[in-house]
Structure formats: C-alpha cells, structure tokens
Amino acid sequence: MKIDKGLIGGSTTLLILSLLKERDMYGYEIIRELEMRSDNTFKFKEGTLYPVLHKLENEGYIISYRNKGSTGKERKYYQITSKGEKQLIEERKQWNIFSTSVNKVIGGESHGFSTL
C-alpha cells in the first residue's frame, strides 16, 4: 500500500525531526530514508519536502549548511537544533496520545497503524 500525499501538514515534523536526531542529512537522503523505513509506504511528492524543511528552519528547529558528504558531492545538509529536539519530544508525546486514542476507537489493536 502506498500513501501518496504531499508532505505538508500531518506528522511530517515528527518524521523529519526523528531522522535528523540520528544524523545530519540532505533532502534526498531524508526522502530515501523515509521510503526505506516505511517499506515504501511513504511515497512522497519529493519536492514538497523542501517547503517543510525550510519551514522547520525558519522555526529554528533545524539549521542547514553545505558540505561534501561521503559521496564527495556537495549537498545542503540539515541538522537538528536543541529547540528542535525539544519540539521532537513534544511531537512524540502528542503522537503517542493520538495513536493510542485512535487504536482505542478502532478496536484496541495495540500495534495499529494510523494512516492519518
């Protein structure tokens, strides 16, 4: 199943901040990582990632810098800030509350997956 939707809105902040918590990444890497980890469930319109990244940067959750990665090509990397880490904790909490509530409503599957 593929959920083909724009990256704007929803739980994208949570997903992006979670990935950047592990390491700095550039846009293309973030897309690949999201696809891979969700077994291709998250198949995005890739270009829509950038307005989200730039929004997170404007909000001070992430910062960007240009650097040569392992491939030797220069890319624009994003790094989570301490403000972003605090936001990530908050978003996780909200997500847990949300998914628990949804699961309760739809019949108590403890590992249920929300497509919202």
Binding site: I31, F44, G47, Y50, P51, H54
Partner: protein, 239 residues
C-alpha cells in the same frame, strides 16, 4: 539537451518565489535532488532521458512547491533578515573603528609632532613627553608634548580625533583652562590646529612662569570635565 526538463521544472518552481536572494539556493537544492534521483534511475538501467522524466515526475507539482516555498521565503522576512545581516556588518565595522584610537596612538607616538618640530631647537629650554589621553564623548584628545622655550612661552601640543567615523564633527574650541601650581591663569594663548581625520593642535602660552612645577589643564564645559596635571621641569633645569 541534458537537464532541459529539469530546467523547466525549476524555472516554474522559482517563478512563484518572490524573494530574489533565496532563489539561487533553492534552485541549487532542488537541482541536486533531481540529479541524485536521475543517478538512482540510470543505475537501475534507465536511459538518461527516461530517468530525468521519472525524476521530475517524482518531484511533484512545481506550482504547488513554488507556492509553498514562497510562503517560507516571504519577502518581508527575507528583507528583514537581509537588514539584520547588514546591521551586523555595520556593527563589525563600527567595532573596527573603535580600535582606531589604538592604531592612531601607536602611529603618533613614534613621530614627533610636526608643530613642535617647527620650534627652533636652540630655543627649546626643555621638552616633556606627556602622552596623556582624555576623552570627551567620542572625542579623544591626546596631549603629546610640552615645550618650554627661552622666550618664556609654553607650547602644548596635542592631537585629537573622533572614535566614531561619523563623529559629531564639532571642532575642539578649547582644550581647557591652563593654569599652573602657582595659581597663574592663562586664558589666552595662540593656538592653531590642522585638520584631517586626526587633527593636530598646539597651544602656546606666553609668559608662562619659569618656576611653575606643574602645568594644569582643566576642562569644564557642557557638563564635560577633565583635569590634567603635568609635572614640569623647573628651577635648576632651566639654563
């Protein structure tokens, strides 16, 4: 040929971004993403043309991306950001000029004051290196030398400058009231100054007491005050 589709896509996206200074960064970032995706597809065996087509398709609607990006690169915020950068640069420049006094003092302490050098050597009874600095607002006055000549005239040389580049520009009317430890006041004296970023000046006080041990320069105007006491060579040192 190559990248033509990419260029069209990027041009469309950027046509919605109003703030000019962010455009190149955005173009570069999206371009790199498309290149990476083209690489991915060509490695899977697609031709370059097919790979580019697919890569562009994966990006999504350029109009929607452009509109969303424009929201995050709002002209007002952009200009404010730019203005803040300009302010930072100005601040740095100001700070550089704050260090001007140090440089000026270094330079001037090496060379004798030209005005003082105009006094014939044979006329000089004694000369004292003063190098005392006072400051009124942003105006720095450095008293350099005091020369006493055989005619009984005391020459006080100094230079002054503004710490800020756009200094108040007021000319130094007076360096203050000149007295000595014997209580003689010298309101008058000839003085002349030369302009420039650093102005040089010399006040010559005629009939200064030979036996004065201390020269006192006191400035008290417009709520600004300083007082300098400069020890003089007197008595046996003279002649």
């Amino acid at each position: 040929m190559g990248f033509q589709r990419s260029k069209e896509f990027l041009d469309t996206v950027l046509s919605y971004v109003k703030f000019p200074f962010d455009k190149e960064d955005i173009r570069m970032e999206l371009q790199e993403h498309i290149w990476d995706k083209i690489d991915y597809y060509t490695q899977q065996g697609l031709t370059y043309y097919e790979a580019e087509e697919k890569a562009i398709k994966d990006m999504g609607d350029p109009k929607e991306i452009g509109i969303q990006l424009n929201k995050e690169h709002h002209p007002l915020i952009g200009w404010l950001y730019l203005a803040s950068k300009v302010l930072v640069i100005l601040f740095v420049i100001i700070n550089i000029f704050m260090t001007v006094p140090v440089i000026v003092d270094l330079g001037y302490s090496i060379f004798d004051d030209k005005l003082i050098r105009e006094i014939p050597k044979e006329d000089i009874v004694y000369k004292i290196d003063v190098n005392e600095r006072v400051q009124i607002d942003d105006r720095v006055i450095n008293f350099k030398n005091v020369v006493y000549d055989k005619n009984g005239t005391l020459h006080i040389s100094y230079y002054y400058y503004d710490k800020k580049l756009w200094g108040s520009g007021w000319s130094l009317g007076t360096i203050g009231i000149i007295t000595d430890d014997k209580g003689s006041k010298h309101y008058r004296g000839s003085s002349h100054t030369t302009g420039g970023i650093v102005s040089k000046g010399m006040v010559s006080v005629e009939n200064f007491r030979k036996d004065a041990k201390t020269l006192i320069i006191e400035y008290d105007r417009y709520n600004r005050y300083y007082k300098l006491e400069i020890p003089l060579k007197s008595g046996e040192n003279i002649e």
